[in-house]
């Protein structure tokens, strides 16, 4: 009897809870399908075979699923048929995207139906309908932000008609930082892959205040033409990545790459990731997405700092002083100086003062006095509201020049002619084609220049590891410091009028002022350490200055600079230089450079060069 019961039970259960048997070739074909590869975040391994970017055992159902898409597929298929009583732990609840795809591919009509309460609640809360690619643009005073970041926003159905983007969620991929590593270790580990990458799903509002207020970055919103169905597919897959650890490397396996993968899950016909062989820079993400025809429209949200500056822009000197006075002491709202202003001007001053107060409060703990001042200003604004702030949209960041630059120059140094060949891996200098970049920002990574003098005489002219310059103008309201650092190898005047290759690190700090609409003047104090073969010391320190003018004109950017380094060993090295860019096209620029160098070790040297720059990739 017992035996018969057991037999019956077996018969009853087997067809119910077993995955359909599938022949090997069908399984292999399915497992090689680009969609399955995308869902598992597989890439072809260096030595053939597959490996997944996911670095987390919890993501895989098969023991060696990270390296075997086919075994993972077989294991998934089996798990889909587990008893429905597993509830939220059921594979169908944990892997909704895999489930949907396999169900469609294999017409699985007999799957158990677990109650995925947790997942359903989450999905309803998100209610995906459309998606927006978010790109926080570079902030001048934080050149590391130049590489940017991209995230996705998931909108509900009526976000556009209701203007409720503030209620949407943002999908963010970033390094997951644990413990209390110090800053240096943090930066190093972040760059070298010491932290795992994780997806987070946070209110868009939080991300907005992070970028617009804390970091003062403008935000660009690219509304994508994904259908509700495509958006839903992507969000299903994002659920599968909840708390799942990825490899994270700053240069390639970063946010940009992960987001492109997500878009491919949304719309399988897209091929975005294969265009990113080496490094994925966020602007490139935007370009790739745009090129694929995904962008429906572009919106711009200025940073809080830009809003403050725009509000203060029409104010004259005396009114700006009023802004400072009123922000410091709201009692001054009753002062004769303030009340003498016409009402509309008072409205502007009050608003600027409020914005200045909030700008200063950014990133600080709540301060009761400051809160009271802000509140008083709000009450004043309420009585006399300013007109809405209109801010002109700057150039689209993705239309700025490409990052990798090839350079070909011809010139003369004193009476010797030369040709110069250069390659820069990234990104932008003060004179480069300006569209989409702020004036006064420079960040260059890895630049090599080789020079060929007459008589086939070759030399390394310079090797820059990194050059960063941040020339942010000061005004009555905001007084940022300007600064610069650079390091590498370069040629400087040496004995017998030779050009000597030295290794150096230098930096400076100072101020920048707006001299005109498109003109900046800057003055920085500098320090430098250098290893120079003509010096007795192994390492020679110097202090000096670097000052100049930067002017955006009809041709391109012009810079005129004077520099001086006063070494402790008596050497004094100074130079005057002029650079004018002629912007030929989006991807081509012609630069005229002239320089005169003075040194205690050599006679003054003149150099003139005409250089073609090709912004290639």
């Amino acid at each position: 009897m017992l035996k018969r019961l057991a037999y019956l039970a077996l018969c009853a259960c087997a067809p119910l809870h077993a995955a359909p048997s599938m022949d090997e070739s069908r399984l292999q074909a399915l497992a090689a399908d680009p969609y399955w590869i995308a869902l598992g975040h597989y890439e072809t391994g260096k030595l053939g075979g597959w490996r997944s970017y996911v670095d987390d055992d919890r993501f895989f159902l098969a023991q060696d699923g990270a390296h075997h898409p086919d075994r993972e597929l077989a294991a998934t298929l089996e798990a889909l048929y587990a008893p429905a009583s597993k509830g939220d732990q059921h594979a169908q609840c944990v892997y909704p995207a895999r489930t949907r795809w396999l169900r469609e591919q294999l017409q699985l009509s007999d799957l158990p139906s677990p109650d995925c309460a947790e997942y359903k609640r989450w999905f309803e809360d998100v209610s995906p309908h459309s998606a927006v690619l978010i790109f926080p643009a570079a902030y001048l005073n934080s050149p590391s932000s130049m590489f940017g970041h991209t995230l996705l926003r998931i909108d509900q159905a009526d976000v556009q008609s209701n203007e409720t983007a503030l209620l949407s969620y943002a999908v963010n991929f970033g390094a997951y930082i644990e413990g209390n590593d110090n800053s240096i270790l943090y930066a190093w580990k972040g760059l070298m892959g010491g932290y795992p990458g994780l997806f987070a799903f946070v209110p868009y509002q939080e991300k907005l205040s992070e970028y617009r207020s804390l970091e003062n970055r403008d935000l660009w919103e690219y509304r994508l033409n994904l259908t509700p169905e495509e958006t839903g597919r992507m969000v299903e897959h994002i659920w599968e990545l909840k708390q799942i650890r990825f490899d994270y490397f700053f240069f390639d396996e970063n946010c940009s790459y992960r987001l492109l993968e997500l878009l491919q899950v949304a719309r399988p016909s897209l091929d975005l990731t294969s265009h990113f062989p080496l490094t994925a820079i966020p602007t490139d993400t935007v370009k790739a997405v745009k090129k694929a025809g995904l962008v429906e429209r572009v919106d711009y949200r200025p940073s809080r700092e830009r809003e403050l500056l725009a509000r203060a822009e029409p104010l004259d000197k005396a009114e700006q002083q009023q802004v400072l006075a009123v922000a410091a002491d709201t009692g001054k709202l009753q002062s004769p100086e303030f009340t003498a202003l016409p009402k509309p001007r008072q409205a502007l001053v009050q608003d600027a003062a409020y914005r200045l107060e909030r700008y200063r409060a950014t990133g600080q703990e709540r301060d009761a006095d400051q809160a009271r001042r802000s509140f008083e200003l709000l009450r004043a604004i309420n009585r006399n509201p300013p007109p809405p702030l209109e801010i002109e949209r700057p150039g689209l960041p993705e239309d700025g020049h490409e990052s990798r630059t090839w350079q070909l120059g011809v010139g003369t140094r004193e009476d010797r002619a030369f040709a110069e060949y250069g390659l820069r891996m990234a990104y932008h200098d003060l004179n480069d084609n300006a569209y989409g970049f702020p004036l006064g920002a420079q960040i260059e990574i890895l630049q090599l220049k080789l020079r060929q003098y007459e008589g086939n005489d070759w030399q390394v002219q310079r090797l820059d590891l990194a050059t960063i310059r941040s020339l942010t103008p000061r005004n009555d309201l905001l007084k940022p410091w300007s600064w610069q650092v650079s390091g590498g190898l370069e040629r400087v005047p040496g004995k017998h009028d030779d050009e000597v290759l030295v290794s150096h690190v230098n930096g400076g700090a100072g101020g920048t002022w707006k001299l005109g609409d498109d003109m900046l003047g800057f003055a920085l104090g500098t320090v430098r350490v250098e290893h120079h073969n003509d010096f007795a010391q192994f390492i020679a320190p110097a202090a000096g200055f670097n000052t100049g003018v930067l002017w955006r004109n009809g041709l391109g950017n012009l810079s005129v600079e004077a520099k001086g380094d006063y070494f402790t060993n008596g050497e004094v090295r100074r130079s005057l230089s002029l650079n004018q860019q002629w912007e030929l096209s989006d991807s081509l620029g012609l630069r005229l450079s002239a320089k005169r160098e003075f040194s205690q070790l050599a006679t003054a040297q003149n150099e003139v060069m005409l250089e073609l720059k090709w912004y290639n990739y």
């Binding site: 209610s127 930082i177 700053f250």
Partner: protein, 162 residues
């Protein structure tokens, strides 16, 4: 909705899911106006690696600022808890009589599109009744808003959501 909230607030010790009621320890409900900004990048280069420290949130909890809510949700799964994180923006918009946070507030309160301009005008006019002090909390702002809506013939219907 308000009744449910008050009910849970005054429930002594609860062993069910409502333990995490508004005002609970994990719940950001009741942010004060001009609260310091959270999420300050504590590390150099935070913007470079786009790091997140702490628990990587995954929606839901943070959408309601850590408050688990069984209260009726007014708008596409979003309650006006969401406004808790936008208090500064809301106060500024309301003082000026227009802006995205103010529109959002109208939407989560269930104000129909044709009444939103009127809502903006009325709340602007009554800004000082709604934002009474510099250290007002989100909860009081909400209560004061409902009081203002009640006294307006056209908006009174939004003051007592079903």
């Amino acid at each position: 909705m308000k009744r449910i909230l008050l009910g849970t607030l005054f429930t002594a010790v609860s062993i069910n899911a409502m333990a995490q009621a508004p005002g609970g320890p994990d719940c950001g409900w009741g942010n004060m106006l001009f609260e310091g900004q959270r999420g300050t990048p504590a590390h150099f280069l935070a913007s470079t690696t786009n790091g997140t420290s702490g628990n990587a949130t995954f929606g839901m909890t943070s959408g309601t600022n850590g408050c688990s809510t069984n209260a009726a949700l007014t708008y596409g799964g979003k309650s006006w808890f969401a406004m808790n994180g936008m208090m500064n923006e809301l106060s500024e918009d309301m003082a000026k009589g227009q802006g995205e946070a103010l529109t959002t507030y109208a939407v989560v309160l269930g104000v129909a599109p044709e009444d939103r301009a009127h809502f903006a005008a009325v709340t602007h006019q009554h800004f000082q009744d709604i934002f009474k002090t510099a250290d007002i909390t989100a909860e009081d702002v909400h209560n004061n808003t409902l009081a203002v809506l009640k006294s307006d013939a056209r908006l009174a219907k939004y003051a007592t959501p079903a």
